[in-house]
């Protein structure tokens, strides 16, 4: 559905994108991760036909973003990272205006606006002036705006930035619903746990270059240095560390805040063997769990590499 081939963008002497390539099949949610200034927004703006690449091609549903801009615009819903709203317009009028811009027939617009406001949970604020809304609510209205023409693809640039935790959770719920509606979504974010839960695919970008791309599991497997366990033993923590250290599968063990963190190579069977070694030696293990931070590790590993 989305294909990016060798995308390069140069601003003066600065290379914002350096031959970036990736593909997103239909109905996938592609998480675009990278530190600030990595090139996420530049890529999304090129995909939205708002920016011309210095080199490379990008396609939305087979349509070249540079040559078939009108087709691209009808297929995408774009939500920029920073956006403004108009004064003196109510939420319903605001959405109706964009629906008209997308050439939705007038008789249908009322229903579109009502449905979208229900989707983003703002039906009760239909007649409120849009510039008086809080940032979280403006984000929701902007998301609704991106959906007025029922696009197949959504390009969401940091949709959760600047939101409080509750608003962030609500935004995530809305995105899940959109996923259920069969949209292909590219979402850029620096909030990694959100992406782990939401995305089916991921791309890690840094200094304008794609460091890794593929399914979340693949990327973690490719980049993560090893799996991690957090183990709590009731007593004799140091003795437990001594038992774990010589094990062949263990790469590194350390005591962290009263627990033991062990990095190992292997699968779930290896983890079971480690647990067995501890209990077999008579240690009373009260907690034994994998540390859920694989994507974060992968991200840190990918972005800490030297460029070039």
């Amino acid at each position: 559905m989305i294909a990016v081939e060798g995308l390069t963008k140069i601003y003066g002497n600065r290379t914002a994108l350096d031959h970036v390539s990736f593909e997103v099949p239909e109905r996938e949610i592609f998480g675009f991760v990278g530190p600030n200034g990595a090139g996420k927004t530049t890529t999304l703006r090129i995909l939205a036909a708002l920016l011309e690449p210095t080199e490379g091609k990008a396609y939305i549903g087979g349509a070249d973003v540079m040559k078939e801009r009108e087709k691209v615009h009808t297929r995408i819903g774009y939500m920029p990272d920073f956006f403004g709203v108009y004064d003196q317009l109510t939420v319903a009028e605001y959405l109706d205006f964009y629906a008209a811009c997308y050439r939705q027939p007038k008789p249908r617009r009322q229903k579109i606006v009502d449905d979208l406001l229900a989707l983003v949970g703002m039906a009760d604020r239909k007649n409120q002036l849009v510039d008086t809304l809080s940032r979280g609510l403006k984000q929701r209205v902007c998301l609704a705006r991106a959906l007025v023409h029922d696009p197949a693809v959504l390009l969401l640039d940091e949709p959760a930035s600047g939101l409080d935790p509750r608003a962030r959770v609500e935004m995530r719920e809305i995105l899940k619903e959109l996923q259920g509606m069969g949209k292909t979504i590219i979402i850029s974010s620096h909030i990694l746990p959100e992406l782990t839960e939401l995305c089916t695919m991921i791309g890690i970008i840094d200094h304008g270059r794609m460091r890794a791309t593929g399914s979340v599991r693949d990327v973690i497997a490719r980049l993560a240095t090893g799996r991690r366990l957090r183990i709590t033993v009731l007593d004799a923590k140091d003795a437990a560390i001594e038992i774990l250290t010589p094990l062949a599968s263990i790469r590194h063990v350390e005591a962290v805040n009263g627990t033991i963190e062990a990095e190992y190579d292997g699968d779930e069977g290896t983890a079971a063997d480690i647990l067995h070694a501890l209990t077999g030696a008579g240690f009373r293990v009260s907690s034994f769990a994998p540390v859920d931070g694989g994507l974060e590790d992968a991200f840190l590993k990918a972005t800490s590499e030297e460029v070039g």
């Binding site: 060798g6 390069t8 140069i10 290379t15 350096d18 031959h19 703006r45 939205a48 036909a49 708002l50 920016l51 011309e52 210095t54 080199e55 490379g56 540079m66 801009r69 009108e70 615009h73 009808t74 995408i76 774009y78 920029p80 920073f82 956006f83 403004g84 709203v85 108009y86 004064d87 003196q88 317009l89 009028e93 205006f97 964009y98 008209a100 811009c101 997308y102 050439r103 705006r145 270059r209 460091r211 890794a212 497997a221 490719r222 980049l223 240095t225 590993k301 990918a302 590499e305 030297e306 460029v307 070039g308």
Partner: protein, 349 residues
């Protein structure tokens, strides 16, 4: 909806009407406009009546009365629109950029031309509203006579065309500059040049009167961009004597030595006098307001002015449509990307 109707009536127009008329600024601007125009009309009227009371009727008949009132009102109206129109349009596009709403418009199927057109239509509708509101004031002129309805129509056409060109130029600067402040300064600068600069040009660089010509020499064509002279010719039914033309040294010495000077009249004849050309007051409108030489030979002053204004509009519109799109179709120079840098070392799996 067919493409023409879509171009003329796009969603931006309706949105602009809503947002513009919901603020206090629009009623305030309308009130100030009408009060200023009415105030000037009253002042001119009062001055003329006091002259009449003080010095008796010195040939200033009722019809001249109407012409003077009309002339003052219409020129003051152009001056007011010269202040209002750039303010209406110079923030139209740059304001969207500053508000960070322009990208949201660019990702819709609306063509950049439609965006500019919508903004212009909305702004110009406000100007038309102001012109309509001034009609009752202008109708007072008919109390005195001396002005025909066609003169009012021509004068309003020139005024409308002037406002239109100022609006188009304002939009062009708004598309060019990222910020509203420089766009507004440039739009006012352009308005000053178009309204006054071209008028002053006639005094600074007049056309030499051809002694062999049997018609009145027209001022330089560029001076017709300013609506001042066309409006005066409409109000007075006469060309403005001495504007934009001059005698050569030989003609002047001939005049000072007491010789008679023969000059063409506005009706196409030749009149000789010892003091220079004399323009007889013309009963009908067209001969007195027709250009007999230059680029617009045979045209009326107001027609030439409107054509010049429309040409400015076309240039400004083309420029705006060219400069506005985020991704431009025409490139002077295309930057080549460097060869790809070596891929990063593969991460250990």
């Amino acid at each position: 909806m067919n493409p023409v109707a879509r171009a003329l009536w796009n969603p931006i127009v309706a949105k602009e009407y809503r947002t513009r008329m919901r603020t206090w600024r629009s009623p305030f601007a309308i009130t100030v406009y009408v009060v200023l125009l009415g105030g000037l009309g009253w002042a001119v009227f009062a001055a003329m009546t006091s002259n009449l009371a003080g010095f008796g009727n010195q040939g200033l008949g009722g019809s001249s009365y109407g012409q003077y009132l009309f002339m003052f009102l219409i020129i003051f109206q152009v001056a007011l629109l010269g202040f209002i129109t750039p303010a209406l349009t110079s923030g139209a596009i740059s304001g969207e950029r500053e508000r960070q709403t322009i990208d949201l418009l660019f990702v819709t199927p609306l063509a950049p031309f439609s965006i500019i057109w919508g903004k212009l239509l909305a702004s110009m509708s406000f100007v038309v509203l102001l012109l309509i509101l001034s009609v009752p004031l202008f109708s007072l002129v008919f109390l005195f006579g001396g002005i025909e309805i066609d003169q009012v129509v021509y004068a309003f056409a020139v005024t409308g065309a002037t406002a239109l060109s100022l609006g188009f130029v304002g939009i062009a600067f708004s598309s060019l500059f990222r910020r509203t402040l420089p766009a507004t300064v440039a739009a006012y600068g352009a308005a000053f040049v178009l309204l006054l600069g071209t008028y002053v040009y006639g005094y600074l660089f007049p056309v030499d009167i051809d002694p062999n010509a049997n018609v009145v020499t027209a001022p330089p064509a560029i001076t017709l961009v300013s609506p001042v002279i066309p409006l005066i010719t409409i109000a007075t039914n006469q060309p403005v004597s001495g504007y934009g033309t001059r005698y050569t040294q030989t003609q002047l010495s001939k005049l000072s030595s007491g010789g008679s000077y023969c000059a063409p009249t506005v009706n196409g004849g030749v009149m000789c006098s010892s003091t220079g050309p004399v323009y007889p007051s013309s009963g009908s409108q067209s001969p007195g307001t027709t250009l007999h030489t230059g680029l617009f030979n045979g045209w009326q002053y107001w027609q030439a002015s409107i054509v010049m204004q429309l040409m400015i509009c076309a240039v400004a519109l083309a420029f705006s449509a060219l400069i506005l799109p985020p991704v431009r179709r025409f490139h002077l120079r295309r930057r080549r990307a460097p060869a790809p840098t070596p891929a990063p070392a593969p991460a250990p799996s």
